[in-house]
């Protein structure tokens, strides 16, 4: 009895990796969900700094406020806003899937594009509010 598995004539194919897999709305949104989640995790740090500055007094609060109102600060806030809106909208999409709704392929694509539209629309609204203020 042979216990050594036979050597295949050519290497077995690997499972499809991101680099060779044709991007689809479904897979791209799934990847963006992860990246925005990581982005939001990093984005908690400015929130903690903001609350810390309020706790430390008017001087610290002013410094941090000016810092966040700088062009770099506003750009980062908008990046954070996009991560937030996307993760929120796609998270709601996931919760609907979890209760068994929206699994038809047409529904998956429709909800996917709705997530994209919501995230971009709300980010633009936030941009308008921040620049308008």
């Amino acid at each position: 009895m042979s216990t050594t598995p036979p050597i295949p004539p050519y290497p077995r194919p690997l499972s499809p990796h991101l680099q060779i897999y044709r991007p689809q709305l479904t897979s791209v949104l799934s990847i963006i969900h992860r990246f925005t989640g990581i982005g939001l995790s990093v984005g908690t740090i400015p929130l903690v700094i903001w609350l810390g500055a309020i706790a430390m007094g008017p001087g610290a609060y002013l410094t941090v406020s000016l810092w966040y109102a700088s062009p770099l600060g506003v750009t980062m806030m908008l990046g954070w806003a996009f991560c937030f809106y996307f993760h929120l909208a796609n998270g709601i999409r996931h919760l609907f899937w979890d209760i068994g709704w929206g699994y038809e392929l047409t529904h998956v694509y429709r909800s996917g594009w709705l997530v994209v539209a919501s995230a971009l629309g709300l980010t633009m609204f936030t941009f308008w509010r921040m620049v308008g203020l």
């Binding site: 992860r34 989640g37 939001l40 903690v48 609350l51 309020i54 706790a55 109102a69």
Partner: protein
């Protein structure tokens, strides 16, 4: 070498540790809570992000707002730690480094949450002092 029988010590560490379902469930429960908490926070932050110091302290120092902020921050770090754990489990091949990173993420999240709660209490003291 012919090795038909896997040593028990080897297979004992390979199977499920029966924590996946709870992780899955709490990731969704915390996510559901965060829909409401984060939308509340977003509306508030639109109003108070550019306010002067006195206004912000009065806002964040009031009991209900302070409690809601504490709850929001706690839920954010809980949900974030669960989410980062999945990313680490998926992309870090070594089980040793997986464990090291997950423990670090969890400890860091706890530290950040406790720090923020301390800040919120401090703000409440300033607001009422």
């Amino acid at each position: 070498m012919t090795d038909l029988q896997t040593p028990i010590t080897k297979i004992k560490r390979q199977g499920s540790i029966h924590q996946g379902a709870a992780h899955w469930k709490w990731q969704r429960i915390s996510g559901l809570c965060l829909i409401f908490l984060s939308l509340w926070f977003l509306v508030e932050i639109f109003t108070y992000s550019q306010a002067d110091y006195h206004t912000v302290v009065t806002w964040a120092g009031s009991p209900w707002i302070g409690a809601a902020l504490a709850l929001f921050v706690g839920m954010v770090f809980y949900h974030g730690a669960l989410g980062l754990q999945v990313v680490i489990e998926d992309y870090v091949p070594s089980s040793f480094w997986q464990m090291v990173l997950i423990i670090n993420v969890k400890i860091f999240s706890i530290i950040m949450a406790v720090l923020t709660w301390f800040f919120i209490i401090r703000i409440a003291i300033i607001a009422n002092g």
